[in-house]
């Protein structure tokens, strides 16, 4: 009993660190539409993050970040550059961000603003765009089909995340393979097509993030692979990683035991209204539950791994934690 209380207290502490999540739902975009910067806003703010956008009026082209609700998962090519291969946002949401980082640097900065400025990133969900996914899977007139002719080429397409703090680029880096064909056993090769959580806590405190691409399919004219990525549910800690800034935003939810073997208990002390979503490490949704005062979740048959647990209030606020299934 004492151990359970300690574990619950530990998780409780995790949740009381105030977080803000950029969900892109507040743009209230109509279905199958997008904001690609043609409004000349120069970028989009959500949560405590600013996503820059560059739009060329003369040529109608954009770079940086757009916000999209597009659902086309079948049309290849650049004419479908604002769709995610999942056909929806992360956690079954409607909206998400599409990043396009063109030559010559293939990189883009996300500014951390407000209370989160100088604080720590929690993590984000990442996926391929439809354009990028289909290009890597099938090839196109410019880019190769990953694996090449024989299927055994050690191709990869990688998203790299670094941080700036006080004007300096940190040495920390999180790498996420949007496609990886480097396995000696080709059956393990994959191209990401589901929203996948990327933990960014190892970056530490930051005032901006630097996202960049690296691809094995690179020629004299640069990266042939379409340099697109989809992002969603980017969560920041509203303050430095080691402090709690706003007690008003603390929620009191107990999740125990952790690790859990059979039944996970969730106690909602603040009488929050909303839902609880649970995802496995690959981003697959394991369950969706309406929040009540206290409820149990049977995890007996779930595979042993770390699970993401997301509390989403009806006003859109999101709190996130994790637990271990033994």
């Amino acid at each position: 009993m004492r151990t359970k209380l300690l574990l619950a207290a530990s998780f409780f502490f995790n949740l009381v660190c105030s977080q803000t999540t950029a969900t892109f739902e507040n743009f209230n975009l109509a279905a199958d539409s997008a904001l690609n910067g043609s409004d000349l806003s120069g970028g989009y703010s959500d949560g405590n993050l600013f996503f820059p956008n560059t739009y060329d009026v003369q040529f109608g082209s954009w770079a940086g970040f757009s916000v999209s609700t597009k659902t086309d998962v079948t049309t290849p090519g650049f004419t479908n550059d604002l769709s995610c291969i999942a056909g929806e946002g992360a956690l079954n949401s409607n909206s998400y961000a599409v990043g396009y980082f063109p030559f010559p640097l293939y990189e883009q900065v996300i500014d951390i603003t407000g209370n989160a400025d100088g604080g720590a990133m929690e993590g984000m969900y990442v996926n391929n765009s439809t354009y990028g996914f289909l290009s890597m899977r099938d090839g196109d007139a410019f880019a190769k089909k990953f694996g090449g002719v024989s299927g055994s080429d050690p191709d990869f397409f990688k998203l790299k995340i670094q941080k700036y703090l006080n004007g300096s680029l940190g040495s920390e880096m999180v790498e996420f393979y949007l496609a990886d064909f480097r396995f000696s056993d080709s059956s393990l090769d994959y191209i990401v097509d589901e929203w996948t959580y990327v933990d960014l806590t190892s970056l530490g405190n930051a005032d901006s993030l630097l996202l960049s691409f690296e691809s094995s399919d690179t020629g004299q004219f640069g990266i042939n692979t379409p340099t697109y990525v989809c992002l969603d549910e980017l969560t920041t800690k509203d303050g430095p990683a080691t402090s709690i800034r706003s007690l008003e935003e603390v929620i009191h939810v107990g999740v125990y035991p952790n690790p859990v073997v059979a039944s996970l208990s969730i106690r909602n002390q603040d009488d929050l209204r909303g839902e609880v979503l649970i995802f496995d490490i690959a981003g697959k949704q394991m369950g969706q539950y309406t929040i009540t005062k206290q409820f149990e979740i049977d995890v007996t048959d779930w595979p042993s791994m770390i699970y993401q647990l997301v509390f989403r209030e009806t006003d859109g606020k999101v709190y996130r934690s994790s637990f271990v299934k033994k």
């Binding site: 040529f59 049309t75 089909k145």
Partner: protein
């Protein structure tokens, strides 16, 4: 019979500090100013070219009897427009002299001339395949009947000018022409100048020029010919020609139809199964109709109409799962030509109206791109034989290109005019030529473009050649106006080229030997490339300098007897065409060879004629080239051709069998685009001629 003259190029570096443009008034970047619509010069040009257009339509509609009146009217307008005060006195009675076209017969320039016989022999080939097998010119082919372009002396495809009866037919939007779309039976002569001659031909003739010519024989009353061939990959070609007329009037109709599936087997890698190429079918149909009228020995009038339509599927690359893309090309080319010759004077005027459309569609990516343009061209040549040793030529050219390509946002035009003065001196085995061209665009005058050629016979067997000339190429409409990335401030590519050649030939008792060796050197600056700019797209920029130098060598031998002949020749090219500026994007280091430009290239030909049968074997070796992503390995390909010509009075013809890539080599010319393995073409051609109708 291949006729090739040796030419030599010698080194001289470009003065890099010298401005390339002399603007009309204040010095401004080329193409930085828009066309002044109030300018009398531009306005008159437009009027004249519109008149040309009306005339050319009238020629077709009204008939030949009124041609002379219209042409004379237009000629007067053209001369007034260009300011060229050509005067000639037809009342003079002087001895007949030979008047040479100094542009076609440029002294000091190496040439390859394919005559009617050679073209008829390979009439089922496209010009791309013909040049690939009959010359040592590098043909960049995407495989089968796909897009093909040429590179001469290490120049880019856009730096080889393609002419039709002297008028440029390259796309002013792309700067190139797909040579796979030109059927060989539409030309009576193909005249290739190896090496730059921008002074004569204008923009684009940096690496060389290819002139497709239509000639007519007024002694022919009737000629009917038909040919058909069947080949691998459901390849069917049918072509015909009807020539009808008399000593004063001739009508020549040439038709060509071809189709094929192009679905050859691809063996991309030993670890995977072979598969059949898909989405590669093509079909093409065209007609070239010409009317020729020669009322007397002084006048020769011709009207040409070339209409053609083609559709090609674009196959996938070997690293692409599938493709549904296709391209449709359609064009209409109308040209009128009037030649007047009297004593020492020769006058030639040509007017052209070309309309062309390319529609690229890729249903998979929901992409449709329409590219269309039209060109109005007027050309005037006056040649005077002052003396049997001295000839003078004055020429003017006016071109107005218009395109309302969707990517430009609005209709864009490019107009230019040029004056050319050329002088030649020929005495015994010495020939000299000097010419100078002054080109004017809507942005002002270019620096004068000179040409100096010297040819000297040494003894009975040696010929020495030397040529120095300035070259240039104007940016294409895409370079200037494509959105995104078009750059209105682009300067033309320009520089100097030098050639030096020495040839030896000897003939005795049926034996012929020839050895030719030439060197070329060329520096081109303001090289136009698409590279990353300040925005998130590629922009056309004058970003590099390219130095090209190399050698071309040929050794030939032939032996001829009454019913037997044998001939062989060996060709070898060494070409270094290197960037002189390092770039990050595209990733280029100083000294990098241009993409798709082989350093080594060789060709061996063997021909045996015996008792009416002919056997030919060609072997081509192309050294390693660099693609945008991968190195392309060297390859060698052998082709065999058997034919049996027959001639029985008025009826002549041949049957033939061609086996291409006889050793079934697995090779690519363009990366990720495989070439077909062993394939055959079998066909026949019959020809009926009657001198008396």
């Amino acid at each position: 019979m291949l006729k090739q003259d040796a030419t030599v190029k010698m080194g001289r570096r470009l003065s890099r500090n010298k401005p390339e443009y002399l603007p009309v008034q204040n010095r401004k970047p080329a193409f930085g100013r828009k066309v002044n619509s109030n300018s009398a010069f531009d306005h008159s040009q437009v009027i004249v070219l519109r008149c040309v257009y009306i005339l050319l339509k009238a020629i077709v509609e009204v008939g030949l009897k009124h041609i002379r009146k219209y042409i004379i009217t237009l000629l007067i307008a053209l001369v007034a427009c260009t300011g060229l005060q050509a005067q000639f006195d037809t009342t003079l009675v002087l001895p007949e002299m030979q008047v040479l076209e100094l542009r076609v017969n440029a002294i000091g320039t190496e040439k390859i001339l394919f005559d009617k016989g050679q073209l008829e022999e390979r009439s089922f080939f496209s010009l791309a395949d013909f040049l690939n097998q009959e010359s040592n010119i590098y043909v960049k082919s995407y495989g089968g009947n796909s897009l093909s372009s040429v590179s001469i002396q290490g120049a880019s495809a856009a730096q080889t000018l393609i002419l039709w009866n002297g008028l440029p037919i390259q796309s002013p939007t792309l700067g190139q022409l797909d040579l796979a779309l030109i059927p060989n039976n539409f030309s009576e002569e193909v005249d290739i100048q190896l090496g730059g001659n921008s002074s004569s031909w204008g923009s684009g003739a940096i690496g060389g020029s290819i002139n497709l010519k239509n000639e007519v024989d007024y002694n022919q009353n009737l000629e009917l010919s038909y040919g058909a061939s069947l080949g691998s990959y459901s390849n069917l070609i049918q072509q015909g020609k009807i020539q009808l007329g008399n000593a004063k009037f001739q009508s020549v109709s040439r038709v060509n139809y071809q189709r094929g599936t192009n679905d050859f087997i691809i063996s991309p890698d030993p670890t995977v199964s072979d598969y059949r190429q898909s989405n590669a079918a093509f079909a093409q149909a065209g007609i070239l109709q010409s009317f020729h009228y020669r009322p007397n020995a002084n006048h020769d009038i011709a009207v040409f109409t070339w209409i053609q339509q083609s559709a090609k599927e674009i196959p996938s690359t070997i690293t692409q799962k599938n493709s549904e893309a296709f391209q449709e090309d359609a064009f209409y080319r109308l040209m009128a030509e009037w030649k007047y010759t009297k004593n020492k004077h020769q006058l030639k005027t040509s007017f052209g109206h070309f309309r062309e459309k390319q529609n690229y569609e890729d249903p998979l990516i929901d992409l449709s791109a329409l590219n269309k343009f039209q060109s109005l061209l007027a050309e005037f040549d006056y040649r005077l034989s002052i003396h049997p040793r001295h000839q003078l030529q004055l020429s003017s050219t006016t071109v107005l290109n218009t395109s309302d390509n969707e990517a430009y946002g609005k209709k864009q035009t490019q107009n230019r005019s040029a004056l050319l003065a050329a002088y030649s001196y020929q005495f015994k085995r010495l020939a000299l030529q000097f010419s100078i061209r002054e080109e004017c665009t809507s942005n002002g005058f270019l620096l004068p473009v000179p040409y100096m050629g010297w040819q000297q016979g040494i003894g009975q067997n040696f010929t020495f050649k030397l040529k120095v000339s300035r070259e240039f190429r104007l940016p294409t409409l895409n370079d200037l106006y494509w959105a995104p990335g078009g750059n209105k401030d682009l300067m033309p590519e320009s520089g100097w080229s030098q050639e030096l050649g020495l040839s030896y030939s000897q003939e005795s008792d049926g034996h012929q030997w020839s050895v030719a060796h030439s060197f070329f050197n060329r520096n081109i600056r303001n090289w136009i490339m698409w590279a990353p700019g300040n925005q998130a797209f590629w922009e056309a920029q004058n970003i590099n300098k390219v130095w090209s130098l190399g050698t071309m060598s040929k050794v030939g031998y032939s032996y001829t007897r009454a019913k037997f002949s044998v001939a062989t020749d060996l060709n070898f090219n060494y070409t270094r065409s290197i960037f002189q500026e390092a770039l990050r994007f595209p990733r280029i280091a100083v000294g990098d060879q241009l993409l798709y430009t082989p350093v080594f290239q060789g060709m061996a030909n063997f021909r045996l004629n015996i008792v009416g049968f002919e056997l030919r074997y060609q072997h081509q070796i192309v050294g390693q080239t660099q693609g945008a992503n991968d190195e392309i390995p060297r390859f060698h390909v052998g082709n065999v051709h058997f034919s049996h010509p027959f001639d029985q009075g008025n009826l002549a013809g041949k049957i033939f069998l061609t086996i291409n890539n006889i050793f079934n080599q697995n090779y690519v010319i363009v990366e990720r685009r495989p070439m077909p393995g062993t394939n055959v073409l079998f066909g026949m051609h019959i020809n009926f001629k009657n001198k008396k109708l």
